[in-house]
Amino acid sequence: MTTASRATRVLGWAALVTLALTAWLALIVSPPDVTQKDAVRLLYLHVPTAWLAMYVSFGVTTLASVLYLWRRTRSRFWDLAAGASAEVGVLFIGLTLAVGSIWGRSTWGVWWTWDARLTSTAVLFVLYLGYLAVRRVPSDPEVRSRRAAIVALAAFVDVPLVHFSVEWWRTLHQPASLLDERRLFDPQITGTMAFTLVLGVVAFTLLYAWLVIHRFRLARLEELADERQLADALAERRAEGAPTSAGESAGTEAGSARVDAPPVEAVGGPVAP
């Protein structure tokens, strides 16, 4: 894999080992819940993916977008970082919704309900899908990046709504297990269950970092490929134009017909560095 390096290999293995350990603890070692029984084991997937998507992925996207919009720090790096983090975030928020739906079917008896937490999370998913769509709109790269950065800032407004939805509205969804501001020193979950949950968060954070680095490097490769294609197209046009100048100097009819064609640089614009 050309986007790999020694550091990403170490990171990838660390993510894989911690994920495997989390799965073992979650499925075999940790005890079933008193009321939810075995269904509680979905907590160790649902919470880390939600945490990663909402706070880490979309947080990084927002921060990178601000840095891109700010003239002093504007660079392609921040734009590509924002895009890479958002794509991984959409993947994780999609998993949050899917696993949450399975958990809801198991405990509430329904796959979906128009609950405040569920609905605001679905809206978040759609907003960031829209962000990814804006990034693909054919346009001048700088204009497109600026538009995407503004959309990212607008989309992030939904994150606090999702977070506080369980407090502001009456919902089926339970309140936060770990990140409840009022019970930071008196958590609802302890012992093996708490350890497994924290390990799951660490494992998914490592996985997020590994995925974002690869996605970022892939985006750089995509840009390089585009530049290569442009350079090839220009070289092709130059090759087509070569007999024209010969014909022109010889004063042939064919040569004088071809000389009306605009110069290659004027058609294709400057070659990207």
């Binding site: 029984k37 997937l45 998993l95 696993v99 399975i102 690869h214 490769l221 400057p270 070659v271």
Partner: protein
């Protein structure tokens, strides 16, 4: 379906989605590496390298 059935379904779905995404990144990366590699082989040209002499325009 029992609780464990839903739990296993959730874990398998997560593994499939994440695995699929990793494979997609991998195949795309390999395809682009071929496109961006120089004709004579060797490492891809860095994105910030200057264009060859004579290619710079305006």
């Amino acid at each position: 379906m029992t609780h464990l059935g839903y739990v296993l379904g959730g874990y398998l779905l997560t593994a499939a989605v994440l695995g699929g995404y990793v494979l997609r990144l991998r195949s795309r990366s390999r395809a682009l590496a071929r496109v961006t590699a120089p004709a004579g082989g060797g490492a891809p040209v860095p994105a910030d390298s200057p264009p060859p002499a004579g290619e710079r325009t305006r």
